[in-house]
Subunit: 314 residues, 2 copies
């Protein structure tokens, strides 16, 4: 069992399984001793029927957390042993009502002693523990319900990926990336307009030299996102030309670029950031919202596709 030590906490699941396997094995031995004519794995079904008479296959399956197919198979075997009887439901022709037979009830009585002993042994074991296993289970079930392990792993993955993203400033060598990343999304949803080409072909003159900035997101040695901050007046910048490669999604690149723009604008003493977009770009609008932008009504846009304007007061 070296593996469990090496893998450490990564293998909580496997380790829990091992533990439950040990307990299951022990339970099987217990059945032997008490000479109850019942397969250990039938117990959940049997117990459920002992507590509530007359249940359908589906109801039992739900109660014990297994598939109806499995219950159906178990029921067949228990019927062969004469432990239960099965009758068709009178009001619902699909349903078959299952309950303990006379023999089943006899077994149930025998089983009761065993249950008492198993229960008190389990309770004693749990009570002996310094670290409350029972509450641990409950807590873990709760925590996983709140946020599954899968979601947690994904969050960690994103965290790790984000750390690999570098936000860098404009230099002429990135002009092609600037154009390509923007053309990509514009063509996917709209048409490239003349005003677009002006900015995309010569960002140096139209953005940088006018007191604006352009940021790029680098990931794995490649430029995977960009965003421009164009100066409108001494107190206002426009956030524009944000483009992120579809291949690099899920790494919060838009978020990081947005933050970089906001930081820069603040550093330059701006009072607000303005932007124009289109409501069809739902993820983008959501991102702007998360960044703090609010819907406003500004001057008419030079872009055909713009149908929403937003502003962030710094």
């Amino acid at each position: 069992m070296d593996f469990y030590q090496m893998a450490g906490k990564m293998a909580v699941g496997s380790r829990l399984r091992k533990l439950s396997d040990t307990l299951t094995e022990n339970a099987a031995k217990v059945y032997d001793v008490y000479q109850v004519d019942l397969e250990p794995r039938w117990f959940p079904v049997f117990y459920t029927l002992a507590k509530t008479e007359g249940l359908g296959v589906m109801e039992i399956a739900q109660s014990i957390g297994q598939s109806h197919a499995s219950v159906s198979q178990i029921i067949q075997k228990m019927k062969k042993k004469g432990l239960i009887t099965e009758v068709k439901d009178q009001t619902d022709g699909r349903k078959s009502v299952v309950e303990l037979s006379a023999r089943g009830k006899e077994v149930s009585e025998k089983l009761e002693h065993q249950m008492i002993d198993v229960k008190s042994a389990s309770e004693e074991l749990l009570a002996e523990m310094q670290y409350d296993m029972w509450k641990s289970i409950e807590e873990m079930e709760f925590l996983l319900e709140q946020r599954s392990l899968f979601d947690r792993v994904m969050a960690k993955r994103k965290e790790r990926e984000v750390q690999k993203v570098k936000i860098i400033d404009y230099t002429d060598q990135y002009q092609k990336d600037f154009k390509q990343l923007n053309v990509e999304w514009i063509e996917a949803y709209f048409k490239v307009e003349k005003t677009d080409l002006l900015y995309l072909d010569d960002p140096k003159s139209y953005i940088i030299d006018k007191g604006g900035h352009i940021f790029f997101a680098e990931y794995g040695g490649k430029i995977v996102g960009t965003c421009a901050l164009a100066k409108m007046d001494d107190e206002t910048f426009e956030l524009a030309k944000m483009g992120v490669s579809p291949k690099a999604q899920g790494k919060s690149i838009g978020w990081l670029l947005g933050l970089a723009c906001i930081d820069k604008a603040k550093a330059l003493g701006a009072k607000r950031i303005f932007l124009e977009s289109n409501t069809r770009l739902v993820p983008a609008i959501n991102l702007y919202h998360k960044l703090g932008f609010q819907k406003v009504t500004g001057p008419p846009s030079p872009y055909e596709r713009a149908n929403i304007q937003m502003e962030l007061v710094l």
Copy 2:
């Protein structure tokens, strides 16, 4: 999942299994996302090989706590996928040495990211917990190693059975039980002697009326054990004629009868209890020992079968 609530702590095992199943399911989803070409259940084998190059099937099996057959099957499938290479051991012709292929090592690198994320997610989850699941697991493993659940259940069973045993005093109606219980074991090992019959046929005159006592153990409405305390002199009693029905073994009936005798002797102001037995009766001798009796050499016995004498100083 009503069953788990109803069954309560009795079903720790099942509940642990459910929890580990949830985690396993989540793990499977994680593999999907990271696009590592590896079945989740191969992970233990793969991981072990990644950590230690060149292992035999048995070694892997032991390390991951599964059967060699299972490992053998997994290895075959991994070989088909080109993840591992298998070579015959040079010094040991039975052994086949398995290690990761070049492709396997590539996958291993890919897997590393996934492992990092799973590990930190698991660790975060565990750290979030108020009731330390990790330590709980360790503690439970330890406790079960010390004393298995099976043993604990058996102990509880005995405890429960013992409580059903009543120790009662002699009345004439029990004379037949007294004789029958003793004849049973004497005939099984030795022969009934004349001296036996004297006491067994008329315990009233030979034991009770001479200041002695006889106790009976009642279980389930039946007399299942007996033991006599015969007065030798003002300071000495003899413990004799202890017989327990084989059907009622494992209920500590001998122990309870012995205790009753000792208590009575003490109450009557005796200074010691003496007994004679035979070393062939190993469980009996052990019981006397547990009760505090020590081997002594006393006067010669009227019984042929007696080859050991013991005494308890009160």
